[in-house]
Symmetry: C2
Subunit: 330 residues, 2 copies
């Protein structure tokens, strides 16, 4: 085997599981080091890696970790408000980044990441965010149907993100540390729109509301986003924390893509296709780990399900929609 790529982990919030779950399939990687990226201990994260057969160094200071270990790839799941700085710190050192979405909480911070990225050798340094739904079975299956032309030209995309509120850590209560419900929850919905719509966002209309949030501070309970893409595909996103406790799953994640000759719909983990001649449930494609794709892309140039430009466009759209909604306070 060739020289192993060095992977370092910053932070264990959010979807670091996307990384941990596929490590067994990536013998090319060594987890060299971990850091919480903040004052919190990284012991639990390190233990997860030890359990998987690695022996990472633990660093209190992630900058020191980057400069000492010189990793090839870093997973960023730190405090949300530090994502942008962490991305910049990695890119400035020519390290590829797999970052929890949203990668920035303000448009200004997003610009800084873009500037750091533009100075990199883009053939070697990559950055994507954790839009792991693109690899999940039902969504891959629906996307495959659209790619095969089974619904014709895409015209309308309807998405739903409904979560149980549960009990949220304190960093969800402040805009500065949470970022807002449109970027945090809605980013999945907007990513589906970007992915299935195959075009950048042209116009965005958004509203959000913190009312009835059960004492969760700034957290918006409900949001709606309406989009028109550059190719005139229309799309809607319904985003809220109203999923009742007795619902069978934490999230009600739905995508419906209607085209000129068919409709494909992901609901409750199943995929339905209706065309001029048939109405049927599709057999699911196997799951594909987004981090697995990302590493194979870096190593072997295999196609990855998402790229840097889409990552920037998604983040821009989420933050622009949130900022628009702020100006339309209910």
């Amino acid at each position: 085997m060739e020289k192993k790529l060095k992977l370092a982990l910053i932070g264990g919030q959010g979807h670091v599981g996307y990384v941990l779950r596929v490590l067994k399939d990536l013998p090319e990687l060594d987890v060299c080091a971990v850091s919480s990226g903040c004052d919190a201990p990284a012991d639990a994260l390190a233990q997860n890696c030890v359990n998987l057969g690695y022996n990472p160094e633990i660093y209190a200071d992630y900058i020191k970790m980057l400069d000492t270990e010189k990793p090839d790839i870093v997973s960023v799941c730190g405090p949300f408000e530090l994502h942008a700085k962490m991305c910049c710190d990695c890119l400035e050192r020519n390290i590829s980044v797999f970052c929890e979405k949203p990668i920035a909480l303000t448009l200004e911070d997003l610009d800084k990441i873009r500037a750091a990225y533009d100075k990199c050798d883009k053939s070697k340094v990559k950055i994507i965010s954790m839009v792991g739904f693109r690899g999940e079975s039902p969504f891959r299956t629906a996307y495959d149907a659209v790619e095969k032309g089974l619904i014709g030209k895409v015209k309308m995309i309807n998405t739903r993100k409904s979560y149980k509120l549960g009990t949220r850590p304190a960093y969800y209560h402040k805009r500065e540390t949470y970022g807002g419900t449109i970027p945090w929850v809605g980013s999945h919905a907007l990513d589906w729109i970007l992915w299935f719509g195959k075009s950048d966002f042209k116009t965005l209309y958004a509203v959000h509301d913190t009312a009835d949030n059960g004492g969760n501070g700034d957290l918006e309970m409900t949001a709606l986003v309406s989009c028109v893409l550059e190719n005139n595909v229309m799309a809607s996103a319904s985003i809220e924390f109203l999923r009742p406790a007795a619902a069978p799953t934490h999230g009600d994640d739905q995508v419906r893509v209607a085209g000129t000759c068919g409709v494909v719909e992901v609901m409750h983990g199943k995929v339905t296709l209706i065309t001029a001649t048939e109405c049927k449930e599709l057999e699911l494609l196997p799951e594909r780990g987004i981090f697995y794709d990302f590493v194979r892309h870096i190593l072997y140039g295999e196609p990855c399900v998402v790229d840097a430009e889409e990552t920037f466009e998604l983040t821009r759209a989420c933050l622009a929609a949130r900022d628009f909604a702020d100006k339309n306070q209910l």
Copy 2:
């Protein structure tokens, strides 16, 4: 039995079936006359009435019909672009009106109806539009659940109207005679929002698009409406003619109402309720004809599922959303 109320029918387009279907349950009514309201013959409409045991006069001129027969109630299902004038002609003669929606194709015409209505004795003269979904089993059942407080305070309403395009008569091809997809198809969705949301519209954002309409002229294939109601309920409407031919029904009519402690959803004719403690399908309430309600309201003061103010508000919202979308041409 008391003196029969006289019912006259103008036009057989649209949902005149709401009237014909419940006549057998309304022995208090006599169908005294019919008119097409335009140059077309009214023979088929008259024959329908004869088949139901009535013996209506046929008038080429509906004004002459109103002045000669002096009906108590008129059903208006004429050419769409004449609805507003027909409503005014009836109201000016103190005749109650059951009119196909939308009751006007322009905001100016809606103002004329409002002015005519304001001159009436409102205790006797009524006007509503044919929002028959309010009486259909699944929608009544969902509404009943909300009324019982099973989902708490309503926060978010998502609606879908997806129709098969099929072959459309020529009057669908021109804005002047069709009115637009938001008023024609979307009026159902906006009515659900008004009904379940129990509040007038505060803000409306809308887009629509005529592309890929298969040679149907001005007909918009797709539309999206986002609303915030005066009570801050958010709502979305996805409206299109993209339902594929092999779909099991002509229309995919869906409403989802999410509240502070539950979600109720109408889909495929079934109603699902999820709360903190249960997730179940609700037993359906029986259908209730909207015209039956309307006549009993006029005769006996029984509650009707919709009133004049809601009819005006719905029409205003549909036309305002359409006009807004016109200004945001894709």
